[in-house]
Amino acid sequence: MNGKNILLVGVGGQGIVLASEIMSEFFRRVGYDVKKSEVHGMAQRGGIVSSHVKIGEKVYSPMIEKGKADIMLSFEKMETLRWLYYVKPDGVIVSSNVKIVPPIVSTGEFVYPEDVEESILKERPDAKILDIQSALKELGNDKVTNVIMIGALSTMFGFSPEKWLEVIKEAVPKKVVDVNVEAFKKGRSLMGS
């Protein structure tokens, strides 16, 4: 059983905590030891959110050591850039192409650069930037980035999609189960499986 450090990053309101809950529960059910950690509080008000999920035979610390993430799932492209340093040199980076402009840009003090994706790829040519923007439009729901990302993650492990969907269906509100099932499949197809 290989240990993996999975880092989820994005912006408050994108469903990052729920995504990390779902994957932690999934890995627990298939027999891994799991620890996870994130910071609540000030970060909830439109700020940066990061969640650490660690799985393995036996996991001690709930925090991923800097530079030791095996997988990063980023829900927003500026956040991908912010957290790149946290990923191992041979780690997997999956990023959304969604752009969420922080309100501070309105003050004119900062500019959200146009070339975020280029900057990511310049530093990490192997990063996968998924067209989540179109996927959300296609699915008709802008709240399912988290389950798309779980779909993407599922392609990196050998477990059956049904097993993942079992946990997802239990975790999301009843009336949005169908769109989340589609979102999961979308995540898988965006990764080419």
Partner: protein, 590 residues
């Protein structure tokens, strides 16, 4: 059955399984979820108290009545609760009594990072420090047992990562513990000097017995390992150390106060060198050294900030234990994303009014509204602790010679927590400042816990709503005004008039939080871009739904737009637009 639980959920589960019958708390990150989760167990009566002192006092009452009781709070909350706690140490308990302190190393959402292990030594009470969720649950059981066996309150100390980190926990059934009932015992329960002087010796005697107990207590265990360097650690530092050095010989202290000195002596003897790995203060290290035992610690590890696996790795590198350090550096390539007020937050209206009325000094307090200290408002000048805004403003007035233009801003929950006494101070000592209660009728910052303004309690039952106006008038405040901050002109007129007046005034700025107890649903607004002149007045309200477009007017001003997905329809910005550019959605396509 095994489930994933956070440390806070595990404490709640422990309270359930180990027969707790009463719990009280005041919300505060990272402790809030403890009581929130306890409220799901109907076997435990629970309540949000107005502050940590009252929460502790009601839990003490429950213990005196012979029931197992628990109170929970963030680290700075223990300062508020310290008064009853210090004397409870003398009195002791009847039903088991646990106080949970959730510390915040690194100050993720706190004003300081005090190390509350010191309170155990200060109050001379046992300290339990879990390292993960399973231990958090188990230690509640140990805590109640130790409390009853040694007739003492017990402090369980968590930190942000043990509180909010999740791990796998094996669940058990509830063991009912009989409520013993209250029996009058004058020499124990009445802390008169004549009794307290005798109890003081009881405390010393108890410490002696506890010192024997910790030597054989299974919570203080040795994990054998490889190498000639040993480690002593506790709490979250233990799991970071295990991650970095899985095979190291470790003395893990689940009960780090009182210290098991003999156990430590025998452990230290076996190694060439022993290193203490502990976050924040050298709490263990100093006590160990005071016994003449040679150990190392803070020469390698920082006293400031939160530990993480890399901090521990780099400390071990400095100590010569590891050959490589973690040199990964944070690269600041991204623009910042500071926290902001929610779109349509009623605090926006009152801060806009204070800014427009040119308040000279605004003393602040603890809550979402402390965000007014940063961009875009930058109007709040101070923030010390819960309730400090009022006292700080009065002190400034006394020294500067006038209360004109000085405002104190405090939220409803914080006002009830520690602001009422400040208001009494203002009346009694003839202050002329302007006090603003920004009343959104909920404890919003910590995730929407009900308070005395909400109308229901922690178990969801309907209860009384406190009327601040009546309260203030009873205290003797002569100028009390209730405003709706969404009505910008009215609010501004009253704020300006009262700031300039030569008397004490209280402005109660009342409008519900947009998130809690439920998300507000109102008609939203949009911008008819053709009408926008780029005056940017709407942007001054500091609403994150309003953003600058790339489009310019003929005069070269950037036009502003509303992100309709974020808009909550509060109607503040429309009051600022003179050009009919901001409109309710229903007017779209006119």
């Amino acid at each position: 059955m095994k489930v994933l639980l956070s440390g806070n959920e595990a404490i709640a589960r422990g309270a359930y399984e180990y027969g707790c019958v009463f719990a009280a708390a005041y919300p505060g990150t990272p402790s809030t979820e403890i009581l929130e989760n306890i409220s799901q167990y109907k076997e435990i009566k629970c309540q949000w108290s107005p502050n940590e002192k009252v929460a502790t006092e009601v839990a003490i009452g429950a213990s005196f009545a012979g029931g197992r009781a628990l109170c929970a709070m963030k680290h700075v909350g223990v300062n508020v609760a310290a008064d009853p706690l210090m004397t409870l140490s003398y009195i002791g308990v009847k039903g088991g009594f646990i106080i949970v302190s959730a510390d915040d190393p690194g100050m993720h959402s706190s004003q300081n990072e005090q190390d509350n292990r010191n309170y155990a030594k200060f109050a001379k009470i046992p300290l339990l420090e879990p390292s993960d969720s399973q231990e958090a649950k188990d230690f509640v059981g140990y805590g109640f047992e130790i409390s009853e066996k040694f007739d003492t309150p017990v402090l369980i100390r968590l930190t942000t990562r043990t509180s909010h980190g999740k791990g796998i926990v094996e669940l058990g059934d509830r063991k009912e513990v009989k409520v013993k009932g209250f029996e009058r015992d004058f020499t124990k329960y009445v802390a008169l000097p004549m009794n307290a002087r005798k109890r003081r010796f009881v405390v010393e005697e108890r410490e002696k017995r506890l010192k024997e107990y910790v030597e054989k207590c299974e919570l203080n265990r040795i994990e054998e390992g490889k190498g000639n360097i040993g480690f002593i650690t506790s709490g979250i530092s233990y799991v970071h150390l295990k991650e970095v050095l899985p095979d190291a010989p470790i003395l893990k202290l689940g009960m780090p106060y009182p210290l098991p000195i003999e156990k430590i002596k025998n452990f230290v003897k076996r190694f060439d060198k022993v290193i203490v790995v502990e976050e924040l203060d050298p709490f263990l290290e100093e006590q160990i050294k005071a016994h003449g035992i040679e150990v190392y610690g803070k020469e390698f590890f920082p006293e400031i900030g939160e530990f993480s696996p890399e901090v521990v790795r780099n400390g071990l590198y400095k100590a010569g234990v590891l050959k490589e350090e973690n040199k990964v550096e944070v690269k600041e390539k991204a623009i910042p994303r500071p926290p902001v007020f929610c779109p349509g937050c009623p605090h926006l209206g009152i801060f806009y009014a204070l800014k427009r009325a040119r308040a000279k000094i605004v003393t602040g307090d603890i809550g979402c509204y402390t965000l007014a200290a940063i961009k875009p408002f930058e109007i709040m000048d101070t923030c010390v602790c819960m309730g400090a805004s009022i006292g700080n403003a009065i002190g400034m007035e006394k020294v500067l010679g006038s209360g004109k233009g000085i405002a104190a801003v405090i939220g409803d929950s914080t006002f009830v927590h520690s602001g009422i006494t400040g208001l009494i101070e203002a009346v009694y000592n003839k202050s002329t400042i302007t006090i603003v209660i920004s009343d959104n009728s909920i404890t919003a910052m910590t995730g929407g816990q009900p308070d005395v303004r909400t109308g229901f309690n922690c178990e969801g039952e309907e209860t009384k709503r406190m009327d601040f106006k009546e309260l203030a008038e009873a205290i003797g405040v002569e100028h009390v005004y209730v405003v709706n901050p969404i009505n910008m002109d009215d609010t501004f007129k009253i704020v300006k008039r009262e700031l300039e007046a030569d008397h004490l005034s209280l402005i109660i700025s009342q409008a519900p939080c947009v998130l809690y107890p439920q998300k507000v649903k109102r008609e939203k607004f949009y911008v008819e871009l053709e009408n926008c002149t780029g005056c940017a007045l709407c942007s001054k309200i500091g609403c994150q739904a309003i953003y600058r477009t790339e489009e310019k007017t003929e005069k070269g001003h950037y036009k502003w737009d509303i992100d309709v997905a974020l808009c909550t329809g509060c109607g503040l910005c429309i009051q600022l637009c003179k050009f009919d550019a901001i409109r309710p959605i229903s007017r779209k396509g006119e």
